[in-house]
Symmetry: C2
Subunit: 192 residues, 2 copies
């Protein structure tokens, strides 16, 4: 019996210099989303995964804590959505599973979270969630968002997590559309 | 700016010899669940995380593909639920994000999946899901299962994923109860 006892979530190499070049402060919600969307676009350009990007920032200051891109097809892990990667790398950076243990932390993602990422948000300790493109945009590009509770936004708000939709939606949706047009892989079992 | 560019999901050291000792075949659903529940109990005993265990097996033969335990507090990652760990290590073992790409694969978990793990199941490529303890058992021990769609079982079945509940429920729930009685950590932001 030969089992695996560990696996790694590792960002592709281009990301380090890409983020280093990003010296603008992330004071506004739009600046934060612009980075998340830029990550989604660059991930497609570099061929390292699906058209999704996310970042975790300190809510008040905009200090960048982590970045994530979709890595499903490159690390061969179905959980490696941009949000899951960003959440995990942020927790790894502060060495605490609860991102909210000291200060308010925000997750900014280029696209409305799927059912898995929605479920992961409350466990992460983030205090707010911002997204750009929405479910309709993702589905128009061939992606499946999974089955969330009908009132999923309300569910997050009820748990004290503030939500903010449609930030740079057009720009975020354009990346999805371009990916679909180029015939990019849509990686879920139902569509194979 | 000092960001993390990778993180690891690594099982604790006791698991390797624990699983090596497990030479019985996993032909029946009960045998599979007995291993998942035993992993949940041993995880508590070893002090390496919450009272949850999961395995991934080849559906027909019962060949063990991976094991997982809850590692949230030990690896400091909120996504490290037993199911997510088992799914990821199985994908890592076969080097494919789609567990169902060659054969039917089953996820057997000691407790009904939370909202995140429910959302992760369809993306993983498993063709069936088996659980022991249920939401009420988990909640009685102080855990939060998150907000799943009301008809979440139907949602999985609609996607072609067969479900099987209440397998060794009593044994699985007993582990949760014991953990709660000992004052084990319940690790989600809402309860801190």
């Amino acid at each position: 019996m030969s089992l695996q006892y560990s696996c790694e979530l590792a960002l592709p190499h281009w990301l380090e210099s890409f983020v280093d070049d990003w010296s603008d402060p992330l004071e506004t919600t739009e600046q934060r989303m612009f980075l998340a969307v830029s990550l989604s676009a660059e991930n497609v350009l570099q061929g390292t995964g699906g058209p999704f990007g996310a970042i975790v920032v300190e809510a008040e200051t905009g200090r960048l804590i982590s970045v994530g891109v979709n890595l499903v097809t490159t690390v061969e892990l179905s959980i490696a959505h941009a949000e899951m990667v960003a959440i995990s790398l942020a927790q790894s950076a502060i060495n605490n599973w609860n991102l909210g243990h000291k200060t308010d932390v925000q997750l900014v993602t280029s696209c409305e979270p799927c059912a898995m990422c929605f479920g992961a948000v409350p466990w992460s300790g983030v205090s707010s969630l911002v997204w750009g493109a929405n479910k309709e945009d993702a589905e128009a590009a061939g992606f499946d968002e999974g089955d969330k509770p009908v009132n999923w936004v309300h569910s997050l708000e009820n748990r004290g997590i503030r939500t903010h939709s449609d930030v740079l939606r057009e720009e975020a949706a354009a990346v999805l559309k371009k990916y679909a047009k180029k015939g990019g892989a849509v990686y879920h079992p139902g569509q194979l």
